[in-house]
Amino acid sequence: MISSLSEIEELAKAADPVTTAIIAPEDHEFMLAVKDARQRSFIEPVLIGRRTVIEKAADKANYDLDTTRIIEVTDRQKIANTAMEMLSSGEVEMVSKGQISTSYVYRAIIARMKARQEEAVISVQTFWDIKGCDHLVLLTDTGTNISPDENEKRAILNNALQVMPLLGYTCPKVMELVSDSANLKDKYKHFKLAKTPVIKDSKGTYQRLEAQVLKKVLLGEDSNSVNLNSLPHIMLMPDLNTGNMIAKLDFFIKDIVRVSCCYTSMGPVIVPSRSDLAEAIMREIIFGVALVAQRRRLNND
């Protein structure tokens, strides 16, 4: 079981470079990360977007584009579509979002999944490497589903269960987050709880945590000290408001390091935030490379 992002980096270092379609790397920070990732042989990038803007960003990052493939596309949606078509056809093994609104990327993924006649509920998986916790924690969905219903939550869970085995979590502990106050309102009929727990029958693919209130899970029996090791491996977020906000708490909590991806049957699509700096983008690229390396290994097995 991979328990930290440093182990992830070791996996990525051992892998052959991953051909990666980069959607609109039109920003200095993204270009710095791509340059670094290529120099360190993590990826072989294919840059898709407006050539002049890409060249300008590369120039600022001191990145010589002579041996890098660029596909010139100007329309934002078509840039994302092109990358996803390349992933679907196997021309690339990974896609990374650049300085572009995430909605273009999500639309492109959904369109491609529909074309492949796959279930088109996509979700973002955010992994936390928390100091003092002996495993990675996956939070989902942190990016796409505004107010998921039961079926959507099941799909979100299934998406998470696709990616966890790649990291060695064969039967992860799953918890559907419900706030203490929601229980209160439900119990006293001041508010009918709209969302019912979706985690009912795991069929052996995961362990269900009985407690739904995070505080109870963290505090355990003695109720006084926090045990981060008791955090579940997968936390299902109640909605997008919560998922998005919690996922980015690393901006405040320095003991958390975050990476996110949108894992699909075609391969990982990494989705750095537009606010991320080169170091954080690089971390996400490395994470994606490690996932591809694990996919390759499983396919070979």
């Binding site: 920070e29 706030s179 229980n183 909605d239 408001n241 901006f251 003991d255 537009r274």
Partner: protein, 291 residues
């Protein structure tokens, strides 16, 4: 007295002693905290309601049920025996439910959570992890009307608030972005008075980091330095508090501000120092509302 929450400590310095009633008091840590607060002259002898008398409980009244304890605490306030109700060891659901059913919580009621930022050595606040599950715009406005004067009293200056949403642009499919934009515009027009400036919609990275805001092209001078975070709903707010407290180890206390009277909830586990701070916050709130 309390090393954390310097703003709250300053506001408590000139308070006259108040009377507290503790509902379902079985918590020894609370007893220790009350002893400290009493020594500081902030409270008089507290009234303890609970199943059994513990050492140090001089004014004790017996009640075996949690629900009955909460009701007895209420009656103490109605008879003007006590000013502030403190939740003891009973379940929070039962404690709040008794107050809801007693009609003591209304649309203006809001749970104000206070956090201590070790990096800035400063207190910041958030609403509302408990009361309005899916707040309407009207709820939000009323909550801000309750919270703003109190925060102005605490900080003695203009309050800077971030109205949070999943993205920083207005999208009708995301109601939080619309509410945040309306609150921001209302503050521009001074509809909350001149002492509250709301910026929004802001996603959390833009609110917490000036660099992140700049990267996303959001102009926000107060990014990384807001006094108040207005979270979209109870879920996001509850988990914001929970994750900060348990994973971020951020000292977290709170008070339930209501039109009629304020309640101190037991947000255990708290250190004695945090419990002292929480009681002090409640006393400051009570004193302010009485004015």
């Amino acid at each position: 007295m309390i090393n954390l929450y310097p703003e709250i400590r300053r506001r408590a310095e000139r308070l006259k002693p108040q009377r507290c009633v503790v509902s379902y008091a079985t918590d020894e840590a609370l007893l220790k905290a009350l002893t400290i607060v009493k020594k500081k002259g902030l409270v008089t002898e507290p009234i303890f309601i609970g199943p059994r008398k513990l050492p140090g409980m001089h004014d004790f009244r017996q009640s075996t049920s949690m629900y009955a304890s909460a009701q007895m605490a209420h009656e103490c306030c109605i008879r003007q025996e006590a000013d502030l109700i403190i939740q003891g060891h009973e379940k929070r659901q039962q404690f709040i439910a008794s107050h809801l059913e007693g009609g003591f919580l209304d649309q203006k009621s809001v749970y104000l959570a206070a956090f201590y930022d070790h990096n800035r050595k400063q207190t910041f606040f958030a609403i509302d992890p408990l009361v309005a599950v899916t707040p309407t715009l009207e709820n939000r406005i009323k909550q801000l009307e309750t919270v703003t004067p109190f925060l102005k009293h605490i900080f003695r200056r203009k309050i800077y608030a971030a109205a949070l949403a999943p993205i920083e642009t207005v999208n009708p499919k995301l109601p939080a972005t619309v509410t945040a934009a309306i609150l921001a515009q209302m503050s521009v027009r001074h509809q909350f008075g001149k002492f509250l400036q709301v910026t929004g919609p802001l996603d959390i990275d833009c609110a917490l980091s000036k660099v992140a805001a700049q990267r996303k092209g959001v102009e926000s001078k107060k990014s990384g330095n807001f006094d108040l975070y207005i979270l979209p709903d109870t879920n996001s707010s509850y988990f914001f508090s929970t994750f900060l407290k348990y994973i971020g180890k951020v000292p977290t206390i709170g008070v339930l501000l209501a039109a009629d009277r304020h309640l101190l909830l037991n947000s255990a586990p708290l250190t004695i120092s945090e419990r002292v701070a929480e009681i002090t916050l409640g006393l400051v709130a009570y004193n302010f509302s009485r004015k």
